[in-house]
Amino acid sequence: MRKALIGLGSLAIGLFAAATVDAQQTVKIGLVMPYSGQFADAATQMDNAIKLYMKQKGDTVAGKKIEILRRDTGGVAPDVAKRLAQELIVRDQVDILAGFVLTPNALAAADVSAEAKKFMVVMNAATAIITTKSPYLVRTSVTVPQLNETFGAWAYKSGVRKIYTMVSDYGPGHDAEGAFQRGFKEAGGEVLGAVRFPVANPDFSAFVQRAKDLNPEAIYVWVPGGVQPAALGKALAERGIDARKTKILGQGELTEDEALRSMGDAALGIVTVYHYDHNHDSALNKAFVNAYRNAYGGRNPNIYSIGGYDGMHLTYEALKKTGGKSDAESLIAAVQGMQWESPRGPVAIDPQTRDIVQTVYIRRVEKRDGQLLNVEFDKIDAVKDPFKARMKN
């Protein structure tokens, strides 16, 4: 125990010494992500994109060197995330907090950002209220209502009149259900019924069968990424729901790469809404995807990657605008209203909400050259987060 104390004490002294020497010339960014545990894959993809950006644009901006510190939350652990954010600020003297894959962790760290007045970039967590928790917080990923409310309205416009919804029974699932139903009903549609799957071990058979019993013209589903999309897709096929006859609508996680490979042809015809796909047809995206594949063993970037990539871009541009000043007030003033062309399409930061404004794409699963891909066939430009827009009024 004493050895541990001495060890810790010397570590603290060492870090303090290291910090004071270069304090003027570096900008430190603390990345708080779930590097281990259930959500580790999202953190890996995000971290890879951050590394790629820094490799492409160098690690010096406006005369300051960028230093990255990485901290693992292990999964959903707001107490740990809060402590890590506090330690990054108090112990390691970081200037910027970034990362944040999971909502509870982002919310907890937002408190720290507000109290300590530090610039914070949320690169994934998608619950709408996050940006309201700190005046120094900006988000570069997406919000659940941005995608799903828009999707609901689009579904009605595309001819769907009645729909059955199936979502995962926890926060993000409820948000998605609420947003989609709202968009759909406001456009004039009717919701036939709704069901929620348990989060863990959600053997989908029974739920899909219930949906089939009602014989709806369309089904909306929402499950978190990982194992569940493939399992759900297979359950839909096995219970005899043909995606080409009954419209299956979902958020982009449903048809991510690994899920498509496991589902096989059963996935053809599924329509999803998302803000980024590696298939997006633009020169900037093709360059990005190629660079990513080359650097990371042929793996395609996904939404976590683009959130991280754009988050770094935003940070670099903000620093250029402030001339290297890294205090929260200057940085937040610099990012409001910022616009740029991202591999996903045109994006901007809404000056009122500090949230991202972007194009929402509607895609369908099709087979091209023997491979299953999400092909964009419709889009809605410059979508702001509807949830917060309503909060103003």
Partner: protein
């Protein structure tokens, strides 16, 4: 008939009194526990979370180390305490001390209710029942998202400054002092409990559950009592976490947390009162250090630490040390 042999009452009494005397190493430990406030001010948040984990592990030791009840669902009481403190503060009453008392009592009431079921089972069935109850409570909290905030966590937790003057801020001075004092007070209670006739009868129940009723000890009542006390302590730990971090999320009720506290206790050494505290320090500091060095694969080193401890220090760190000092005293090295 003159009593030639030892007095049947005095000897056990003296034994217990000998146990309750404070040893210098214990005093040194608690004094050392206060030093981070001066020497390691940037580690206070971590220290505060170590204190919370230590209290939680201590509460588990009461039932596991002393009464022999292996619980895989102890996070249920931790969670009730955490949510209790959080919800009270959300609806307007943010005073920490009274919030702590209310939350811990809520957890105790839950423990009391559960103890009626717990006292009737043993072995694997008991373990799985505690697991099942913990998982059910976790699911219920997820469903009751109107009360608990669901997966996003409880929003709007605002804790008032302690005694009106000490804010729970970024730097952690208040948090650590508060947690440490609560830990120490409950530790004193546990210490008294364990070195009392009640504590001895618990050990009897652990060693031989069939025989205890035969000597007239009301086993089931004893188990219910210790289970409730343990739940109060676990609830206090949960409330501490909620109050010092102003966050509560579903993971305070998770199987992960129950499993972690079990690992911490076994690592430190169950049934030795300081095992939980020591285990919490070693495990959380090691985890923090490993994950700082290697955020993605620190699990591996923690696993290796556990395997090494079991191989070289049977019965936990304290157990292993006890064995080593015993064999050193015997001169058999």
């Amino acid at each position: 008939m003159a009593t030639v042999g030892p007095d049947p009452v005095a000897a056990p009494q003296r034994h217990l009194e000998a146990q309750t005397r404070w040893r210098p190493i214990e005093t040194a430990f608690w004094v050392a526990a206060a030093t981070p406030l001066l020497l390691l001010p940037s580690y206070l948040q971590l220290a505060s979370q170590v204190a919370v984990a230590a209290l939680f592990a201590l509460s588990l030791d009461l039932i596991l180390g002393y009464a022999g009840i292996v619980s895989l669902g102890h996070a249920a009481f931790f969670g009730v305490g955490a949510y209790g403190a959080g919800i009270i503060s959300k609806y307007g009453w943010g005073e920490p001390l009274s919030g702590l008392l209310i939350a811990a009592s809520l957890a105790g009431a839950t423990g009391y209710a559960a103890s009626f079921v717990i006292a009737r089972f043993r072995h694997l069935a008991l373990i799985m029942i505690t697991l099942g109850m913990g998982l059910l409570l976790h699911e219920a909290a997820n469903s009751a998202s109107w009360l608990t905030g669901g997966a996003d966590g409880l929003q709007g937790v605002r804790i008032w400054p302690l005694f009106g003057a000490f804010k729970f801020d970024l730097y952690g001075y208040t948090a650590y002092t508060y947690s440490l004092v609560v830990l120490f007070l409950l530790f004193l209670v546990a210490r008294r409990l364990v070195h009392s006739p009640f504590g001895l009868s618990l050990r009897g129940i652990r060693e031989n559950p069939l025989r205890m009723p035969a000597v007239g000890a009301p086993s089931r009542a004893h188990i219910r009592k210790i289970y409730t006390i343990s739940a109060v302590a676990a609830g206090a730990a949960g409330a501490l976490l909620a109050q010092t971090t102003s966050t509560v999320s579903l993971e305070v009720l998770s199987f992960q947390r129950s499993a972690d506290v079990l690992v911490i206790l076994i690592l430190g050494g169950a049934g030795r009162l300081y095992g939980g505290v020591l285990g919490a320090i070693v495990y959380l500091v090691a985890r923090d250090q490993f994950s700082g060095i290697n955020p993605q694969y620190w699990y591996f080193w923690i696993g290796m630490l556990l395997v090494l401890v079991v191989t070289f220090l049977p019965n936990g760190i304290l157990g292993g040390f006890a064995q080593l000092t015993a064999s050193w005293r015997r001169g058999s090295w």
